[in-house]
């Protein structure tokens, strides 16, 4: 019933270490192999240490989110950590780059990760998708149960709240996205706008992808060697994106300028490609329609003087960089506000978790009352159906308030007394062990069931001792 997170991220480890780990978790098969091995871990008495597990791997982190069995103690946690260190590095020394969070800290850590506060770039949106992927995979592998389900859903919920209630993701922090955002400040909708990309580079690719995402449907690409441009389109874009892209001859780019609304420049040229006197006639031909120039090349390819022409807007990599820097600052400030939201969510989740402690008591209480009613009522009611209805409604009515009381008292530390009283009043300890357990036993393999049954009785003994 404890949540344990073990992992490493960009803060605790260097890129080589992260690479080693992510290589061993690269494919779903490798991850499945690893999770099965982890689930097979046993403590001294041969009981399973981990009940549920999900694996999160991104380029900046690898984390294992686990729900431990009832009996797993602190020692068990360290055993797991050791095992992980050995599995990936064959070196126990490396254990120190792994961090380990338990229960409330773990929940808080997961929520922080989901809200993208722990990311290298605060507020980046990918992490939530990756987390969802990890959860889906855990569901597919059948390694996620009631507990992790709730935990993950709460994490998604929390991330969404943080995203909508703070400005953490409001301002762009990548050059390509900033370029799109800027053009949205100038143009009213990008659907009917034409983009001209000069040069075929990585930065140009990312920016064009962003533009396509925001609805641009007409993109011309010009490169000094047309062959390279064609290869660039072939290799870097998906089929759907390719339909929007047209490779044009480099000599034709100037003819294309009056028809283009946005010009992206990222060539390797050492001189200005677009000069002040080039643009003057262009803007006249455009009937003063705004022209947005983005120069993401180094050294610059567009004459900075051009920005002085009315209705022409020029941004170079420095301008965008400064803008992003500002935004990163904004995000850091917003992160503080986000922490409050996260703490609230953590509180809610921990409350839910605490209330689970009451579940076994409630179940055994219900069973007891139900059995009593059944045996008594069967004397007077012969019809099975009617009897069932009567038993159920009576149990519900009788136990509504006690159930609420138990749930409520399980949330505060003094509540153990009320639970104890309920147990003593109805003599619950001696008999049936929680149904939940039985169910779980039936789910596992017969071999496991045996050990689980043994451990269950041990658990009950421990519990009785504890209560006493």
């Amino acid at each position: 019933m404890d949540i344990l997170i073990i992992g490493l991220n960009h803060k605790t480890s260097n890129i080589n270490e992260r690479e080693t780990v992510s290589k061993k978790l690269l494919t779903p098969e490798l991850r499945l192999e690893f999770t099965t091995k982890l689930l097979e871990l046993k403590d001294e008495s041969g009981r399973q240490l981990i009940k549920e597990i999900a694996v999160l791997t991104t380029c900046n982190r690898s984390e294992f989110i686990m729900n431990l069995s009832y009996w797993t103690q602190g020692k068990g946690g360290h055993a797991i950590k050791n095992y992980i260190a050995k599995y990936f590095f064959d070196d126990l020394e490396k254990e120190k780059i792994l961090y380990m969070y338990l229960n409330e800290d773990a929940v808080r850590h997961l929520f922080t990760v989901a809200s993208s506060l722990d990311s290298m770039i605060i507020g980046e949106p990918q992490i939530l998708g990756q987390l969802k992927g990890a959860y889906n995979e855990a569901c597919r592998f059948n390694t996620s149960g009631q507990f992790l389900n709730k935990l993950f859903h709460k994490a998604f919920n929390c991330a969404k709240t943080v995203r909508t209630e703070t400005k953490i993701a409001a301002s762009p922090v990548s050059v390509s996205y900033a370029a799109v955002e800027l053009s949205r400040k100038i143009f009213n909708g990008l659907e009917d706008k034409k983009v001209l990309l000069l040069g075929a580079g990585e930065m140009g690719k990312l920016t064009v992808k962003h533009f396509i995402k925001y609805g641009v449907k007409n993109i011309n690409i010009a490169n000094r060697t047309a062959e390279k441009a064609r290869n660039f389109v072939e290799e870097s874009f998906e089929d759907k994106e390719k339909t929007y892209l047209h490779v044009i001859d480099f000599s034709e780019y100037y003819k294309n300028l009056p028809n283009s609304d946005i010009v992206l420049c990222s060539t390797g040229s050492e001189d200005y490609i677009l000069k002040y006197e080039d643009i003057l006639p262009v803007i006249k031909m455009r009937k003063q329609k705004p022209l947005f120039l983005i120069d993401i090349s180094m050294p610059r390819n567009i004459d900075p003087e051009i920005n002085k022409i009315p209705n022409v807007y020029l941004f170079d990599i420095d301008d965008i960089g400064k803008m992003i820097e500002n935004n990163i600052e904004v995000r850091k400030r917003e992160a503080d506000a986000a922490l409050d939201l996260i703490n609230a969510s953590v509180g809610e989740f921990m409350n839910w978790k605490e209330s689970l402690n009451a579940v076994p008591v409630i179940i055994s209480l219900r069973n007891k009352i139900k059995n009593l009613l059944e045996s008594e009522l069967s004397r007077y009611i012969t019809d099975e159906k009617e009897k069932d209805i009567a038993v159920n409604s009576l149990t519900n009515k009788l136990l509504h308030e006690p159930t609420m009381l138990i749930k409520k008292s399980s949330l505060n530390p003094d509540g153990i007394n009320s639970i104890k009283t309920v147990k003593a009043l109805f003599n619950l300890d001696a008999e049936d062990c929680p149904e939940v357990f039985k169910k779980r036993i039936s789910e596992t393999t017969p071999e496991n069931a045996k050990t689980a049954e043994e451990s269950l009785s041990e658990y009950n003994e421990n519990k009785i001792k504890l209560v006493k």
Partner: protein, 272 residues
């Protein structure tokens, strides 16, 4: 009498600004609703006046100013509805509020009754057309101001942080420019016919066509400015900052002509 009623929408508008000061999305929505509520309030008051007095002349000047505020709001709300730019309400509401304040404090002046019946209809149409045209130009003025402010920010590349407000995605130069253009295109015919009717009325009032009145000169200058602007936009594709500056100058002239007609030379505009 009834003047106190003007304060109701005024108070609603002021309150809406207080609500807007809370910087979250919900309060922004609430702000929009409040402005609508203020407008409905204005409409009800206006209809009540119409019910009591009908189109009878003489009419008090404060009614006109109140009517002006109503038309202005109506035009902006229709615009906001078609262009999904509710944020313009934020800038136009103060203008409306100022109108309401003027309506509250303006002295009780009557419009001199015009003799014939046909002239009375022309007078009412003249007022209506001029007010609608002026409202559209007022909107163009506000939009031009936002445009210039926004354009400067983008050009100077300083303080770009303010640009990053996702909740106000309506802030883009092209849209502002389009609104400016549409205001001009729609408002110009209104103003033109309105001015023609005004000249006709004044000639029938003073029984001569040739007396040169300051109100006529200044409105003709205003008309000319807007005519040039429209021509430049249509023929040469004048756009952006220069068009915005034109729009601002034009509106200042409109304000001047209104000032002239109401305060400096009321007699020439048919007031007693």
């Amino acid at each position: 009498m009834f003047k106190e009623l003007y304060l109701i929408p005024l108070v609603i508008y002021i309150f809406s600004y207080i609500v807007f000061a809370f910087k979250d999305k919900k309060s922004h929505k609430f702000f929009v609703y409040l402005v609508y509520a203020g407008f409905i309030c204005q409409t009800i008051i206006f209809l009540t006046f119409l019910g009591i007095k009908g189109f009878a002349v003489p009419v008090h000047i404060d009614r006109f100013v109140f009517f002006n505020a109503w038309i202005l709001m109506l035009v902006v709300i229709i615009f906001g509805f078609f262009y999904k730019v509710e944020y313009i309400l934020l800038y136009i509401t103060p203008l409306v509020a100022v109108n309401l304040i003027i309506a509250f404090f303006v002295p009780h002046v009557h419009v001199r009754p015009v003799m014939e019946n046909t002239d009375r209809i022309i007078l009412l149409t003249h007022i209506l057309l001029i007010l609608i045209g002026d409202s559209l130009f007022a909107l163009a003025f506000i939009v031009s101001l936002i445009y210039i402010f926004q354009e400067r920010k983008i050009k100077s590349k300083k303080n770009l942080k303010i640009l990053d407000m996702p909740s106000r995605s309506g802030y883009n130069l092209e849209l502002l420019d389009n609104i400016n253009y549409i205001c001009l295109k729609v408002g110009f015919p209104f103003i033109t016919i309105g001015i023609v009717m005004g000249i006709y009325l004044s000639s029938s009032l003073f029984k001569t066509f040739l007396i040169v009145k300051p109100i006529e000169i200044i409105s003709l200058i205003t008309w000319f400015i807007y005519a040039v602007l429209l021509h430049e936009r249509m023929a040469k594709g004048l756009r952006g900052k220069r068009a915005a500056v034109f729009g601002i100058i034009g509106f200042i002239l409109i304000l001047a002509s209104l000032g002239f007609s109401f305060y400096f030379f009321p007699a020439f505009h048919g007031f007693e």
